[in-house]
Each structure stands twice: as structure tokens, then as C-alpha cells.
Symmetry: C2
Subunit: 404 residues, 2 copies
């Protein structure tokens, strides 16, 4: 049975009970009106912590520290900065991450080991700790600070990304809220992508880790902007149980929470793709009829990640041969002669061959903000959805002149 999920308008990481957040400008990014670059999320009470990190072998010491601290499964706060990835800076990186967490711990009066740390921005330059020491104390935390926190983690994002929803679990309404930042380098397996999810549900730590992993696999790991993976990607879930009710550890309650958690993560992930550097259109790729879930995931991600698909969407060109090519190279089990393809619901390929379709209608349907490709493999019952964006001249221009 599908859980009753309700969207909370304007919600974010402080929508759930018992969370405060805030942000300040510490001078890590070029100054402009209203800019923020350093933020904190605090749980009033000890929270269950789950986290998922980048698979890149070069990682920021901020990731190294948070990975270690997330292992104990509980914590109180997260401090995050934008403007500097604190990566590829040698031994200094871990010292700085540790100090930044300690400064935050002292500011919100919790133990240092209860604070996780995230960084995003340029690789190869040290965190300007003097600025962080000077300005971290300016962060004012309150129950309406979710928006400031979301703004403080932005890099090339054009706007803060936040989302919250409530779901009834065994008669008790719990809230799940999140903030994320993305833009360039977004790829399955995570990339310069930070995500923070808070909830007032009471979660068993092992369940929380499994549920977060599942939600990330079906959301952040199914989006693609440019195929690159960052050194800093992190998604952190904090569950403080402030809403009361029984501890969720699986079963029907676990399934309902999972559904709502995935919903929030997918909403954030889609928003990241939609706001990717230079993107004009969101591409949703649905692969169904797959023999195994793995096949569906591989095929959907391959299509969403293909540059030739991304450019054809930019050009509103239903060049379905490129979709066939991308499905074929994905490694998914398939039989070419059974593949059906639909563009925005209009079927254009049946049994692997083009059927007569109204090209004008398809091109016209591709002019909107969203383009959906449905690829039916007719091999089984599994499905998966991936999201990508079109590739435009603006992406090239933006990324040709990032650090100069």
C-alpha cells in the first residue's frame, strides 16, 4: 500500500521537529548581495546518523572525517561550507576539517565528535581557516534557518534546493526535510553533490543506513549532468525521534518511511538536475520490462548520461538511434528486436524498429521543460528511472572558465 505523503510548501531541513539551522557569510566565496557560505544544522537532541559518501578514490579530508564519525550512528550537528572543497591539500586538510567541526561544536555546545563536516567548491586550495574562525560564531541557529542553510551550501546553483514532506506512520505524522546542492560534476555514484535530510521520526541506526542507501540509489545515484564524480559527495540523514512514536526498524512502518524518504530525495535530485550548469530541460528516462532491476538501472543511467542523447534533447530531435546506442552500450541484458521506445508517451519504436509517427508532434512535445523517454525492454518486470539534463552551449561556456 502506498504511503500517504504530503508535500510541505517551502519546507526544508528545519521542517522536522527539533532541528535548528543557520548560515553566514565567512568570505569563502566572492562577495555578492545576500551570499552565504558557511552553515550548520543542529538537532536539539542526539540523533541517529546515517550517511553515504562518494566512491571517488581521491576524497576530501572533510569526507574522511565525516565517514569516521558517521560510523558510530549518532550525532548532533553538521557544519558545511561552500567555496572550497578542502581537497588535494595534503595533511592540512584533515587538520582544518577537524578544527572546523570543533569550532561548530563549541558554537552550538555539543561534543566535537558529534559534529560532521562537509565542504564543496574548488579543489586544491586550503580552507581559509582564519575566515572560518572569525565568522563561524555569527551563525544564528533557529527553527526557521533551513533556507539560510540551503543557501550557504550553494556553488554554481542558481537557487537553494529544499524540500519537505510529511507521512503518517502508525497513526503518527512524521516529517522529513532536506536540502541539497549540485550543479556540475553530477553523476551516478554521486558527485559535487551534498544532501542533508532531517527527520523527527525515531529510526533504528541499521535501518536508517539501509533506508538512506536505498533512497540515494533511487535518487541522487540516478541523476547525471556530465558523468564526473566529485571528491566530496555526501548525503547525511539525521533522525532525532522528536515526534515520538515507536522506533522504526523495518516492517510496514519502515516501508512507509522508506517511501517518503525516497520521495524527498528524488525531489531534491530532480531539482539538482533541473538547475545543472547550462541545463534547459529535465530528461526523465524510464526503463521498464527489464529482466532484473540492475538491467533497468544500467540502461536508464546510460541513456540519461549519453552526450548524444543530451545534445539531441537540446536540439529537440527525436533521433532514437542514439537511445538504442545508449541502451546497447549500457551492459543491460536486452534483445534489440523487443525494444519499444516512447517519447513523452508517443511510441516511435516497436520491436526495435521505427514505426510511422508524427515527427512534428514529437518535436513539438520535446519543446517543454521536461522530456520523458520510456524504453520498454519486454524482457521482464523490473523498472528504474534516471534523470538527466540536456547539454547546452552554456555548459561549455560555464565550465571553460570556472577557475580563471
Amino acid at each position: 500500500m502506498a504511503a500517504m505523503i504530503e508535500l510541505i510548501q517551502g519546507g526544508g531541513v528545519t521542517s522536522a521537529k527539533g532541528f535548528k539551522a543557520g548560515g553566514t557569510y565567512a568570505g569563502l566565496k566572492t562577495p555578492s548581495e545576500g551570499i552565504l557560505d558557511l552553515g550548520i544544522i543542529l538537532s536539539d537532541d542526539p540523533a541517529t546518523i546515517a550517511a553515504v559518501f562518494t566512491s571517488n578514490k581521491v576524497v576530501s579530508p572533510s569526507v574522511t572525517l565525516s565517514r569516521k564519525r558517521a560510523k558510530k550512528g549518532t550525532g548532533r550537528a553538521v557544519v558545511a561550507n561552500s567555496g572550497c572543497a578542502n581537497c588535494a591539500v595534503g595533511a592540512q586538510g584533515l587538520k582544518d576539517a577537524t578544527e572546523m567541526a570543533a569550532l561548530a561544536a563549541s558554537h552550538v555546545d555539543v561534543a566535537p565528535e558529534d559534529v560532521l563536516v562537509c565542504s564543496t567548491g574548488m579543489i586544491g586550495v586550503e580552507l581559509p581557516m582564519a575566515l572560518i574562525r572569525q565568522n563561524l560564531g555569527n551563525i544564528k541557529l533557529d527553527g526557521k534557518g533551513g533556507n539560510d542553510f540551503a543557501r550557504s551550501i550553494m556553488t554554481t546553483d542558481s537557487h537553494p534546493k529544499q524540500f519537505a514532506a510529511s507521512v503518517e506512520i502508525s497513526g503518527k505524522k512524521v516529517t522529513i526535510g532536506g536540502a541539497a546542492k549540485g550543479a556540475g560534476m553530477i553523476h551516478p555514484n554521486m558527485a559535487t553533490m551534498l544532501g542533508f535530510v532531517t527527520t523527527d521520526a525515531d529510526l533504528d541506526p541499521a535501518y536508517a543506513q539501509t533506508a538512506l542507501k536505498q533512497a540515494v540509489d533511487d535518487s541522487f545515484n540516478m541523476i547525471d549532468v556530465d558523468g564526473d564524480q566529485s571528491t566530496n559527495d555526501t548525503v547525511i540523514l539525521m533522525a532525532n525521534g522528536a515526534r515520538g512514536g515507536t522506533k522504526i526498524a523495518g516492517g510496514a512502518d519502515g516501508a512507509a518511511f522508506q517511501e517518503a524518504l525516497t520521495y524527498v530525495c528524488q525531489a531534491l535530485a530532480k531539482e539538482l538536475v533541473r538547475d545543472a550548469e547550462g541545463a534547459q530541460r529535465l530528461i526523465e528516462v524510464v526503463v521498464d520490462g527489464a529482466k532484473a532491476k540492475k538491467d533497468a538501472r544500467l540502461a536508464a543511467r546510460s541513456v540519461a548520461a549519453s552526450l548524444l542523447v543530451k545534445t539531441m534533447v537540446h536540439g529537440r530531435d527525436p533521433n532514437w538511434g542514439r537511445i538504442m546506442m545508449a541502451v546497447g552500450k549500457s551492459g543491460a541484458n536486452l534483445d534489440e528486436s523487443k525494444i519499444d521506445i516512447y517519447v513523452n508517451g508517443i511510441q516511435i519504436v516497436h520491436n526495435g524498429i521505427s514505426i510511422p509517427y508524427s515527427r512534428d508532434a514529437v518535436v513539438s512535445s520535446m519543446s517543454g521543460d521536461n522530456v520523458t523517454f520510456q524504453i520498454t525492454l519486454n524482457q521482464g518486470k523490473e523498472s528504474a528511472t534516471a534523470w538527466g539534463c540536456d547539454l547546452t552551449e552554456a555548459y561549455i561556456i560555464e565550465n571553460s572558465a570556472y577557475s580563471t
Copy 2:
């Protein structure tokens, strides 16, 4: 000992003794002055055949047929068309590939099963066999037809790609010549990429297959334009032994031939990258000091394939954090704190950290047609080289409007 390899100016698939080739215009591509779209290479005598094909699961029936015929290890001719990939057209595709090979066999008077067939161009439309039947007979084959053949396989290539070299093996000079076409969709594991190599050396069939695989792994499989892989990629080697001498099956002779074969394949591969859609600069990525060859190959290809690296080269920006990111995500064994990076010979990173370097000098060195990144892992003695091109606005423009 390095083999003595001599470049043959203006050489191609008819440089080796005993090969004829030619091309004609059959009407498969939009007409323009001097355009060709159908070509044949013929060996005067039965030749040893080796071939390497795409790893895409959706393949053109032209590939299916050639794969089968290449297995017997001998053959006489290859017929190739551009303008139509003969892919994703159902059962008709294999009939058409078989007929096209039969028409060519009849034209050059050899057995149909001694003819391989290659197609490149749009996916999802049937080969216009009426045009091929009508025009294939116009192909005039002679010992100077290499250039016409190279022109007949072009799609978005701006010019034909040919190369030939000679090498002395046990006192006998043998010639290796090649033609290739590339442009978009080029990626490791091969992509809309056709390559044809002819030689008058006498090759043992098993040796020929191993040598071609090795040469392709070090050349065509180390280039990247956009990460996509085509349904039609094929590299075919024909060795007719017309120059005499003993059969090469390995040993010192095999090593010398391998070196020359790899040289010709690398020359063709680099030319494909240089002429890729929208490309302005060739990027050469040398990874050395790797523990295993596999690590070096993974890291080199990952850097050459990264969009963020490609765009930074377009912007002449030594944003080495992106190189670290690409090396890190490659899966190669590495220790971040041992990595050294050089841009066009200028060291900018030592032990994983930026060193003081003249930014102006590096940016200025990145203004040429070639940019070399050397990444030293300091983990072992293995190395590999990959080639890519910068990603420009022109790529987007070209690929947003391919079939419209």
C-alpha cells in the same frame, strides 16, 4: 630494440603491395562536390583477415555478418558505405548487408563469403539498396584508390584519414597502410569508428588477431570524444603476404610488426580525435608510474574522457583539481599523496598538492593545438597514453541538429 619505422607520405590502404581500392557516390549522403559514400578494398590474393568489433549490445547486421566471416581468418575484400548505419532496422538489415557484400563480390569477382561489410551513418533507416545496386558497379578499383576509399567512409569527418608506414622485418621491407573515419561517438571500447589496415606482410592468422587486438587497445580504444559507443565500430586488418618473406607468427619479427601496426593505428586514432566534432585541441594524457598496466589505462582514459577536463582545456585553464577528480574516479590504484602532475612538461602538482608554478606560462602553453597532461602515480613502472579532445560549443551545435 625499437623497429625502424618510416612514414610513407600520403600513404593509405593501397600503399601495401597487392591491394586495390576505390569509391563512388551512390546517393546515400546529401550530394555535394566530390562526395563519395561507397567503397571497396580488394586484395589481389587471399589475405589473412583479423578484426575487432564494437562491444555495444545493439549492433548493425553489417557487424554481425563481418564478425562471422572474419572468423575463418581469410578473405579478399571489404565493402563499406557511409550515410546509413544499417542498424535497428529489423531482419531487413542482415539481408541488405548480405546483398551488399554479394554485389561487391560479383563486381570484383571473388566469392561472397570472402567479402566483409561495414556501414556507418544514421541508425534506424534501411540501406537504400536500390541505390547500392545501381551504383556499386561504378567503383573503379586500382592501386591508387586508397584516397577515394578513405573519402567514401567519411560521415562528419572534415577530411579523409589515411596513414602508411614501412618497417624492415628480417631484412625485408613491409608496408602497413590504413584508413579510418571517426568524429562523434568516439570512446574507448570503440564507437562510430571504422578502421581498415592493409599490409603486404605475411601474417599467421592467430598472430594477426592478437596483434590487431593489441594495436587497437593501444590506439582506437584509448581515444575519447564524447563517451558514447557506436553500434557499428569495426577495425579490419588484411594481410596478403605480397611482399614475400617468411610468415610472421611472433618472436622478434612479430614484435617489430606489432610496433609498426600500433604506430599506424595510433596515427589514425589521433587524427580521428583531432578531427572530432567541434574539437580545437588534441589532449594527450600520459599516466606513468602505475602499479599495473590496467591502472595506467583506467586513469589515462578517465582523464581524457572527463567533460570537466575537456572544457577546461577548451578554456585553457590548468584547473588540476579536475584531473585529480578524474584520476580518483577511474578506479585505478593510487595514493593521492604521491601524485605528480605536469602540463606540457611544466610540473604543477607534487605529492598531490599544488606547487608554485607560473600560471601564465601554463595557460600560454595550453594555447597550442596539443595539450599534454602527464600524471605520475609513483606506484610502479607501468604507463599508458590516452587521447581526447576539448569540448566546445561547436560540438553542442553540431550534435543538437544532426538528423533534423
